[in-house]
């Protein structure tokens, strides 16, 4: 997985790094650093928690696309997605 960091939206709450210091690095003023690399497998849960802690919605977790499957019914949603 990876995290899209919108540095334009970051306002320096620093909650991402408080919740997941191993994933999110801050600059000298406490704003999140852009992230180029993929999140290591063992840190996925921390990355999600850190992104969820951002009140500015500056962090978007992009989950890896599941491998293609020949059985179409397996990927079709069973019911309409609920809005969070």
């Amino acid at each position: 997985m990876r995290v899209d960091v919108d540095t334009g939206k970051c306002q320096g709450h620093a909650r991402c790094s408080a919740v997941a210091p191993q994933v999110y690095e801050l600059d000298d003023l406490g704003y999140v650093q852009p992230m180029e690399h993929q999140v290591a497998a063992g840190m996925a849960a921390a990355a999600r928690a850190g992104a969820a802690a951002c009140p500015e919605r500056a962090l978007t977790v992009v989950e890896p696309t599941p491998p293609p499957t020949r059985d179409a019914s397996a990927v079709a949603p069973a019911r309409p997605q609920e809005q969070a």
């Binding site: 306002q11 320096g12 709450h13 620093a14 909650r15 408080a18 801050l26 000298d28 003023l29 406490g30 928690a49 969820a52 802690a53 951002c54 009140p55 500015e56 919605r57």
Partner: protein, 376 residues
């Protein structure tokens, strides 16, 4: 079905804050996302507040804070982008997590000096003896002012806060506000040409063309007094009320101080002391689809919105005006609780004392909390 936004039956004064805060904030949330009370609009849902905070041109902080009639520009809250960015750029380095982290040791020493004399007494008013003086000392420390001025600063800030509350100010308050103004003016003058790394000395001697004028420096000093002292005092008072009332919580935090930062975060989420944060609309607009005329007061109720989501919150506001002192505030709250619980892990209210949360007020908290503990 149309949603009713006008709540003629609701008034701020009638909210059951003192008796059941949870119900009061949820009552507003359930009447949202935007409701009208007593001539103002209230943004009470997470999405409504997101909309207000992220459109500062429409929902102006400048218009809202100009109406306070301060004699000096309240830097930076009474400004909108782009002017606002200049102030934030200058002030942010003094309030970053790293800089605040380096203040810990000094602040712990100050806390020891405040709390140690209370230990032997077996009882105190923890608001008067700790929650009030400590944030004032931190302000003096940041600005490079002597701690001996704490008593004077407390008297001035009390008067300044009264002077900015419509209808509550007296001639004495105005006089005290003027004294604070004179004090800060003298301190600015005294620091010109001096060496020092504190906020005031650094900004006074800023060599850049962009530097703050004396008037802007005074306005910043005033705003730091308005925004940084009673907010922390009030939040601390809520924490001490919860700890004195809840033995399980008290023992959990005393036995495992590593849980204090998360407790502080939830405290700020559920009891954000800046109860009502205003903006004024610069033009006709809509909020969550509801039309709002130009010149309307739109008040954000963070306490209500923060009950919609658990893992993030607007306790320190958000958008370009996100509380500049949030990292300092978190540090103050954490350090006070750590240093107190280290020395006084067991305490409760003095016999016959019942804490009372005043309402309606602009900052939620307790004016006095008489606590007792085994003297040592």
């Amino acid at each position: 079905m149309t949603r009713t936004h006008e709540r003629d039956d609701l008034t701020l004064a009638a909210l059951p804050i003192a008796t059941d805060r949870e119900a009061a904030w949820r009552l507003l949330l359930d009447s949202g996302p935007v409701l009208q009370m007593e001539g103002s609009y209230y943004a009470v849902s997470d999405a409504a507040i997101d909309e207000v905070l992220h459109d500062p041109a429409t929902f102006s902080s400048k218009l809202a804070f100009d109406s306070l009639g301060s004699p000096v520009p309240l830097v930076p809250i009474a400004f909108d982008p782009p002017e606002h960015m200049r102030y934030r750029r200058m002030l942010a380095p003094f309030f970053s997590p790293g800089v605040i982290g380096r203040m810990y040791d000094g602040l712990r020493t100050q806390l020891g000096d405040l709390i140690d004399p209370l230990v032997g007494a077996g009882a105190c008013d923890v608001v008067r003896d700790l929650c009030v003086p400590f944030p004032s000392q931190v302000f003096l420390t940041m600005l490079g002012l002597p701690l001996e001025d704490t008593e004077r600063l407390i008297a001035w800030k009390t008067a300044v806060l009264a002077a900015t509350t419509p209808g509550a100010s007296s001639a004495q308050d105005i006089e005290a506000a003027t004294e604070l103004f004179v004090y800060l003016t003298e301190q600015v003058a005294a620091r010109r040409g001096q060496a020092g790394e504190d906020l005031l000395t650094t900004l006074v001697n800023d060599p850049s063309e962009d530097r703050l004028s004396d008037e802007e420096l005074l306005g910043m000093g005033f705003l730091l007094v308005l925004a940084g002292l009673d907010t922390v005092t009030s939040t601390l008072s809520v924490a001490f009320e919860e700890l004195a009332s809840d033995g399980e919580l008290r023992r959990r935090l005393a036995n495992d101080p590593s849980q204090i930062p998360e407790y502080v975060e939830q405290l700020v989420r559920l009891t954000p002391v800046a109860t009502f944060t205003p903006r004024i609309t610069s033009c006709h607009t809509t909020l969550q689809g509801k039309p709002i005329p130009a010149g309307s007061t739109v008040v954000m109720v963070f306490a209500s919105a923060n009950r919609e989501v658990e893992d993030r919150h607007w306790g320190f506001g958000g958008g370009v005006h996100r509380c500049l002192g949030s990292h300092l505030a978190r540090a103050e709250l954490k350090l006070v609780l750590e240093e107190w619980l280290k020395r006084i892990p067991e305490f409760g209210f003095q016999e016959g004392f019942t804490p009372l949360m005043k309402w309606p007020v602009s900052l939620l908290g307790f004016d006095e909390l008489h606590v007792a503990y085994p003297p040592r």
